[in-house]
């Protein structure tokens, strides 16, 4: 029973971690917006989710379209994310960070994070309801 509930939250956990990491990369971009020779960090969700999926496919959600995100049952540690991030450095020498654009990205990402949190609390409430009957 506990395992089922754990699996239930696997995807949310992954997305929340990714959002937090993206938040960190944007904050780093804003902090370093005047540093010479700084490589802009960028996280693209599609690629990471695909990569994580390809690590292990055991139990999948029923996907009707090839672009749907499927659930992977393996827990992914923070190290795996960081390895993926390290490979995604862009090799521009000149620092070209637009502060306003980064701010907007940050706002968007933080709103998505809050959306994710409210989805999780809704799920938890549903589980409570199912247990209590």
């Amino acid at each position: 029973m506990i395992k089922i509930i754990n699996d239930f939250f696997e995807l949310n956990k992954m997305l929340l971690n990714l959002r937090a990491l993206k938040e960190e990369s944007i904050a780093s971009n804003i902090a370093n917006c005047k540093t010479p020779n700084y490589n802009k960090r960028n996280i693209q969700f599609e690629e990471i989710v695909k990569k994580i999926d390809s690590i292990k496919k055991k139990r999948e959600l029923y996907a009707t379209c090839s672009r749907h995100i499927t659930k992977s049952s393996k827990t992914i540690s923070l190290k795996d994310y960081m390895k993926i991030l390290e490979k995604r450095k862009s090799f521009k020498k000149i620092n070209k960070i637009d502060l306003n654009r980064e701010k907007m990205k940050f706002l968007k990402n933080s709103l998505s994070y809050q959306l994710e949190i409210s989805a999780i609390s809704k799920k938890i409430r549903n589980i409570y309801l199912a247990i209590q009957g």
């Binding site: 971690n17 937090a20 990491l21 938040e23 960190e24 904050a27 780093s28 804003i30 902090a31 370093n32 917006c33 005047k34 540093t35 010479p36 700084y38 960090r41 923070l78 190290k79 960081m82 390290e86 502060l99 701010k103 940050f106 706002l107 933080s110 994070y113 809050q114 949190i117 999780i120 609390s121 938890i124």
Partner: protein, 136 residues
Amino acid sequence: MSLTNILDICSSAMNVEEKKIEIHTNNIANSESIESKNGKFYPYKAKMAILENYKKDIYSPEIVRIKKIVNTKDPYKKIYNPNHPLSDSKGYLKLSNVNYLNETVNYLNASKRYQANLEIVQTIKYIILKTIDISK
């Protein structure tokens, strides 16, 4: 937790911007002062900070810090003032190379970036609080 890492990043950036604001105000304040080196007098040279990004290892946050503070390479201003005790044999006096316009604009930019980082801190604080009471 990467959300608390963001607080480290922002605090480092805010430190750097504060330091930069200090340097620019210092430049403006000292634009008419004179330094003495080995018994000789020189007009004040404008300073500027060079930044670098610093990372302890691949899992630690990427903070920003001041690499070094250097003198700018602008030439000294020269005015004709034969009455001044420090003017040369032809009557020209060297003045410091502080450019008021540059300093003011840099100062405003630094304070803008400081504000941006402060906004991030506020947002992150709110998000962390929301994450804590996730099941309420």
